[in-house]
């Protein structure tokens, strides 16, 4: 077993070596511009791009023509939301989203809201982090033009009832955008069955290269139109100008093909490892709380709060395991995780959370090592924690008058 161990597969995934092999010829030998229509270099590049487009579309049950390449999910989210708002502004300006979306969605709608271009409803989630489809229905007004709800959450892994939301959107004739960044490649996604009109996803979360993503844009029933957010050569059916990064797209296509072929196998392995990690930790450490949905969540996700210890210190104590925390000290904003707060997790437990993100290349040995390390460090830090000491003495921590700073 090699250290450090990578257990942060929600942030990014290592590239599958088989993906790299398919990409290599497209750097030096087949370097053509896919938009060059008049020579063999261009044709070779175009053929490779179209092949990848097919592989990607197949994974999500779409038509290859419905795939628009972007630089990644953040760009896809921006393009979908801003593109729809601009294109359909005559119809209305109301957007429905949820409070636990990724910041690529939340900051986009907030920026539009701030400029007076959109009115936004932020739906709450239940204690497991799920959006209630009926809340979506109730939030719809005659000005609503877009519903944007994520497939699976990046912190807690909870999977939303996307199909039900898609049905309501269709019923009301409102476009449905789904940020499926964490879900595509990990769980079955079918844009037809789920009633999705626009969907963002990215290559590097599914063992493909960084720097390329896609926006699925429905072509019929209804035919969705979006206003381009980048002016230029009119690539990608006018929706996203810019020369296509052929090697990245080829890798993205291969990554999708592998995910499709190996999803059942990967899922079974990941669930077995994740469940073992969860059960062993929970059994050994009292007052450990699972965040997110107990069953309806991504196969590789585990998010636990360890009462009385702070997340950043936990990470520091496990330097040879790459993990992430909802603690304020680990965030750029110095605020504890807004996702956990939206679930109703107390601020102190949000500070104490650790996200384990398992992926295709993790092994049983690594999970054993992680279990041992987590138990060791939580125990050590609890011995060091005045809160643990007080709780053990029977002090109700909620009744204490803390000097907040």
């Amino acid at each position: 077993m090699k250290l450090p161990i990578f257990l942060d597969n929600h942030s990014t995934t290592p590239m599958d070596p088989r993906v790299l092999d398919t990409m290599l010829p497209y750097f030096v030998e087949k370097f053509g511009n896919a938009a060059s229509r008049n020579h063999a270099f261009g044709w070779a590049a175009e053929e490779a791009v179209e092949q990848a487009r097919k592989q990607i579309a197949k994974l999500i049950k779409a038509d290859p023509k419905e795939i628009v390449f972007t630089s990644g999910a953040t760009e896809s989210d921006n393009l979908a939301i801003k593109g729809v708002l601009e294109m359909y502004k005559e119809k209305g300006d109301h957007i429905i989203t949820s409070s636990t979306e990724h910041r690529a969605v939340l900051d986009t709608v907030k920026s539009l809201e701030g400029k007076g271009k959109a009115v936004v409803t932020y739906l709450p989630v239940d204690k497991f982090g799920m959006v209630n489809p009926e809340d979506v229905r109730k939030a719809i007004t005659d000005k609503t033009i877009l519903i944007s709800i994520m497939l699976a959450n990046n912190e807690i892994g909870t999977i939303n009832p996307v199909k039900e939301i898609g049905k309501i959107a269709k019923e009301k004739g409102i476009l449905f955008h789904c940020d499926a960044t964490q879900g595509v490649g990990k769980i079955p996604v079918d844009v037809q069955d789920m009633g999705i009109d626009l969907m963002s996803f990215t290559s590097h979360k599914m063992y493909g290269p960084k720097g390329v993503g896609a926006l699925y844009v429905r072509k019929k029933n209804p035919r969705v139109r979006i206003a381009a957010q980048m002016d230029g050569g009119g690539h990608e059916r006018g929706m996203r100008s810019g020369t296509l990064p052929v090697p990245l797209i080829v890798g993205f296509g291969k990554a999708c093909e592998l995910c499709e072929q190996e999803m059942a196998k990967d899922t079974a392995r990941l669930i077995a490892m994740r469940d073992r990690l969860e059960a062993s930790i929970m059994k050994a450490l009292e007052e450990s709380y699972l965040n997110g949905h107990p069953t309806n969540r991504l196969p590789g996700n585990l998010n636990i709060s360890f009462a009385y210890v702070e997340g950043e210190s936990l990470l520091m104590g496990m330097k040879d395991i790459a993990l992430s925390s909802g603690s304020a000290c680990t965030s750029a904003t110095l605020e504890p995780s807004y996702v956990l707060r939206a679930l109703g997790v107390g601020t102190e437990l949000a500070h104490s959370s650790i996200r384990f993100g398992l992926g295709r290349f993790n092994t049983d040995d690594e999970i054993d090592y992680t279990i041992k390390k987590v138990i060791e460090i939580v125990t050590k830090l609890r011995e060091m924690s005045p809160l643990y000491e007080m709780a053990k003495e029977g002090v109700d921590l909620k009744s204490v008058q803390w000097a907040a700073h």
Binding site: Y308, V309, E310, E312, S313, M316, G317, S327, A328, C329, L334, P336, G346, T347, E348, H351, E383, M384, S385, P386, L387, Y388, E389, L397, W402, A403, A404, H405
Partner: protein, 132 residues
Amino acid sequence: MAYSDKVVDHFNNPRNMGSFKKDEEGVGTGMVGAPECGDVMKLQIKVQNDTIVDAKFKTFGCGSAIASSSLATEWLKGKTIDEAQKIKNTDIVQELNLPPVKIHCSVLAEDAIKAALADYQKKADGALIDAK
């Protein structure tokens, strides 16, 4: 974010971690911070003849908060009450090479020192009044 070697050292080998009984003679206890803010420090001193003969801490917080309180106990030992009053958060920042986002950890440690000293003074004054 990379931690300084000194922070890592205090985190891995905390000095004087533990507790005194609060009602023990000569013990002053300071507890500052709040769980919602992500850090709580408990700092205790044991005083004999106006000199801090021992100090202990327990901290809930990030590595820098743990290191700041660990360092504080090291510095407190052997100091008189007056000398201890003079420990400044900026001294801790300098010693541990704390980055700007972690300065509040040193402020908390200074607050904890002040609170422990005040608690000791209060108890000592009370004992004096009782004696009279």
